[in-house]
Each structure stands twice: as structure tokens, then as C-alpha cells.
Symmetry: C2
Subunit: 308 residues, 2 copies
């Protein structure tokens, strides 16, 4: 029977945790073993460091919202989804480097370069990024159409590359070090740095499921708005969050005088903006039957509710 | 009329230069423009820094050795070949970083991090690697079969990743810093660090041309042996080469006490080994008609002749 009532926060959390566990089961087996031991250890260290596995979970949920997948397609899309987590993990390793954000800790553990040294951290990041494309290509061997996988690979590389995530990290460094940024700059930077890969996670899931252009584009709009809401909420939590609950220190943005929504707009207006983007995410899914996307809609609420 | 006589060094050089120019014409147009200006400048700086464009040229010549390509396929494979040069260029940028080989110069110009700073150099490398996969995927839009492109993408990511180029760089750092390496270690390390991408360049060209498994595997063996010959010749030139002719300083390996063929075997035995690998490269092509591969055979001779 189609579900019409909204998901509660507890239900959403339970679903996210269950899907995250599936991703972690797959992730732990998907690194190749014929790799120099010290390099593999550094790759596994950061990949196993936890996190909510938001990107692969979004990829899976988006694919399922488009079509019932069946076991083979589920497994193939799960593999592609794990590749997205590899890309996210590489970006965290490189962002933490001394020449970049110079962070000694990540998720309560020493960051990769503190644990393994800078050279190994750079190479572990390079390897996770490159090996991610092996995993993506392999998803075609598990029964997805070559055309769909190729299209999803192109979208992923675009979202992660110079006009997406890497470009956003470049702008973030630029604004932190040298340049005054206004709200439009911050919005554009965040849309590239974190938004592009979150958007892509939804878009790739839809693409791999074999959905038509309308659904792919609706899920891309959902992912973009969700990503913006997520990032604003994250920046709010860096001001008002409880370090014990978050599992990380807060106040880093203000200390680094980073241009963020709370810094430029204040807390109240930032919360309103996060809420607006979460509504935009839900609205992007209006063409889907409610039963398919009630979970994705609930997720948009949940992302913002963390920062209220 | 089939060509039976061997190519002279002058002819080989002329062909390589002509193909390298085609690669450079394509390269200069293949970076996207909607990228933060400072990041794009750093990417273009290293991509335009020259070099012989060996990898894309090998990809093109290998494709042509398998089948007459026609204009559309040529253009598509040229685009894929340019992606291989982007990957090679990213690896040079990251290898030069202070935490890695700490090289201030590359091809007579300041290395990327000396010119743009370390953070930008790391990101320019990341972007070139990621954007390379956009280019590879785009080659399917120019008329190559999705299955062939997907297979070539998988092979490329394998050759460039943790069990290939990145893994080889990791071992190179390990042997230089800490661990005594013997000849088998050096051979295995070089096969990963430089051999894998040279081998892949030939294998990908054959794959994209639509060749059957026998020809793909023959060109992969050719590329692997050529890559080994090339690397040994390079190490010999680092001992006996003329800096003015090479366009770079020599003696760096000995100063860094790197384990190389000349260091472990001496010059004469290293030259013999380079010659043996060049012959192995030529022999791998025995199943092809001579007219198709006389150029590739000549190239194997030429690679070694530089170091005699």
C-alpha cells in the first residue's frame, strides 16, 4: 500500500543506517589486493573511517525511486555507489593535507597524512580516485547497459573534476586565503565543492536505473537542492553544534574566517535558506508517485532538521 | 605498396613529431573553459609544457596498426589519446611535489607547485586526472562503440591506479627512502610506475579500434616491452646523457641513490637488457602484416638507440 504519511526522523535514521551498512559491506571487499601493502593500508584506513555514506545511499535510493531494481541491478548500482564513496574519501584526504586545509584529525582519528605521511596520503587519494573508475566500469559487467554506465561515468567525472568538486575546493582555498567572497560566491563555490557530487549521486542513480530524461533531471534538481541544504546545515552546525554529538570540533570556519552562510547572513536567515532549499528538493520530485519518493522527501527534511 | 625496409631514425623522429603536433592541437582545445581561472591556468601550464606525447602517439599508432580508422574514428581515438596525456601530466605534477620527489624544475620550467603553489598543484593534478575520464567518455559521442570505450576506460583506470602507476610511484618512494631494492624489485616497480601506462596506451588504442583479443594482447605485450626498454634507456641517459640534448639535468638518480638498472647492473648490461626488451617488443607484433607495424617496430629500435 502506498505510504502517504511522512517518515519520522527515527525512521529516516534507521533507513540511512541500514543502507550505509550495505555500502560498507560492499566497500570493504571492493579494493583490489594486488597493491603495495603500505598504499592499500592508507586507502583502507580512510575508506573505513566511517561517515554517513550519504553519496552512495543517495545513489541507491534515487535508482530505486525510478524503478524496481531486482537483485542484479541492485548489486551493480551498489558497486557504482561505492565508487562515489571512494571519490568522496579521496577528496577528504587531499583536503586535509598541510598545503590545503591542514587538518590533523578527521572523524576523530588522525587524518591520513598524520597517520601515513604526506606522500602516501597524496598517493592514497590519487589511487582511490583512479580505482573508483575501475569500479564504475565493472558495474557494467554486473548487468547494467554499457551506454548507461558510460553516461554515468561522464557525469561523475564532470561533477568531481575542474568544473565541479576540485574547482570548488580551489575557490574555497582562494576565498579563505585572499579574496573577500559574497553570498553569491559562497553559493557557487559550495554548489561546486559539495553540491556537485551530491547532485551527481542522485543523477547517476537515476541514469543507471535506466530512467528517462525527465526523471534523471528531476533527481538531479533534487540532489542539487538537497546538497545546498546539507551544506548550509553543516555550516550552521559548525557554529551551534555540539562537538560530542557531531563527533568533530566546531568553530573551525569562524577561526579560519571562512565565508559561509552563517558568517554572511546570520543564523536565522541561514536556517530559513536551508529550509527553503529542502522544500525545493522535495518539490523537484512532484512528478513521481508519492510512495516512491516519500523517503527522499523525508531525507530532505531530516538534513535540515539537524541544524534547527 | 607494403613497406619492408626499416624506418631510419630521422624518419621515426619526423613521424613522432607530426603525430605529437596533432595531439597538441587537440589537447589545447580539450580543457573545458567553465573552470576557475587560477586552476585552469595551472592545468594548462603543465599540459602545454611539452614532452614527446609518447602515450597518445602510441595509442594512435596502435589503433592504426589494427585497422584503417577513417576520419571519425581518428578524431575519437585522438580525444581518448589526449586523456592519456592528461593522466601522464597529472602524475608528473604530483611526483614533483615537495612531499614526493621535490623537483623544482620540469622540462626547463619551474614545476607546477613552484609556479602556482602547492595547493593549486595538488588540485591541478586531481583535476587533470578526473577530467581525463570526461574526455574518454566523450570519445563515445564521436562514434566509437560504448562497449569498446567502457573497456578502454576500465583498462586505463587499472593501469593508472593502485596496482599500476600510483602503486609504482609508492614503491619508488619506498625504495628511495627506506628499503634496499634488488633488480626484480626495480623491474616490478618500473613496470607499474611507467610501464603500465605505456602498455595501456597501446592496449587502449587496439581496444578502441575494435580489434580482436589476439591483436589487443599482442599490442599490450609490445607496449609493456617497449615501456621497459624506454625506462631502462631513460635511466641510462640519466647517467651518460647530455643535459643540453635532453633538456634536463642528469645524475639525479645517483644523487638520490635510486635503485635503477645502471646502478644495479652497470651500463653495459643495462644497454643489453634495453636492447633485449626492444627486440621483445618487435617480436610481439609478429602476427601483424609488416606494413602495418613497421613504424611500431622502428619505434622500439629508436627508443633504445637514444641510450647507446
Amino acid at each position: 500500500m502506498p505510504r502517504t504519511e511522512r517518515y519520522t526522523v527515527t525512521e529516516i535514521k534507521a533507513v540511512l543506517q541500514k543502507e550505509a551498512r550495505r555500502v560498507e559491506d560492499c566497500l570493504s571487499g571492493c579494493l583490489r589486493r594486488d597493491v603495495p601493502a603500505g598504499l592499500l593500508a592508507a586507502m583502507e584506513y580512510s575508506l573505513a573511517a566511517g561517515g554517513k555514506r550519504v553519496r552512495p545511499v543517495l545513489c541507491l535510493l534515487s535508482a530505486r525511486a525510478c524503478a524496481p531494481l531486482g537483485e542484479d541491478k541492485e548489486r551493480a548500482i551498489l558497486l557504482f555507489a561505492c565508487a562515489l564513496e571512494c571519490i568522496h574519501t579521496y577528496s577528504l584526504i587531499h583536503d586535509d593535507l598541510p598545503a590545503m586545509d591542514d587538518d590533523d584529525f578527521r572523524r576523530g582519528k588522525p587524518s591520513n597524512h598524520k597517520q601515513f605521511g604526506e606522500a602516501t596520503a597524496i598517493l592514497a587519494g590519487d589511487a582511490l580516485l583512479t580505482d573508483a573508475f575501475v569500479l564504475m566500469a565493472q558495474s557494467a559487467d554486473l548487468g547494467l547497459k554499457a551506454e548507461c554506465v558510460l553516461r554515468a561515468i561522464a557525469l561523475t567525472a564532470e561533477a568531481a573534476g575542474s568544473a565541479g568538486m576540485v574547482g570548488g575546493q580551489f575557490l574555497d582555498m582562494l576565498y579563505t586565503d585572499k579574496k573577500e567572497a559574497d553570498l553569491a560566491d559562497v553559493a557557487a563555490m559550495q554548489a561546486m565543492k559539495t553540491g556537485a557530487l551530491l547532485r551527481l549521486s542522485c543523477e547517476a542513480g537515476a541514469t543507471l536505473s535506466g530512467a528517462g530524461p525527465d526523471r534523471i533531471s528531476a533527481l538531479a534538481r533534487y540532489g542539487a537542492a538537497l546538497g545546498a541544504a546539507f551544506q548550509i546545515a553543516d555550516d550552521i552546525l559548525d557554529v551551534v553544534g555540539d562537538p560530542a554529538l557531531l563527533g568533530k570540533a566546531v568553530g573551525g570556519d569562524a577561526a579560519a574566517r571562512k565565508a559561509t552562510y552563517p558568517a554572511l547572513l546570520g543564523l536565522a536567515a541561514s536556517r530559513a535558506e536551508a529550509g527553503r532549499r529542502a522544500e525545493e528538493a522535495a518539490a523537484a520530485l512532484s512528478a513521481f508517485a508519492d510512495k516512491d519518493v516519500s523517503l527522499l522527501k523525508g531525507l530532505a527534511d531530516y538534513v535540515v532538521s539537524r541544524a534547527l
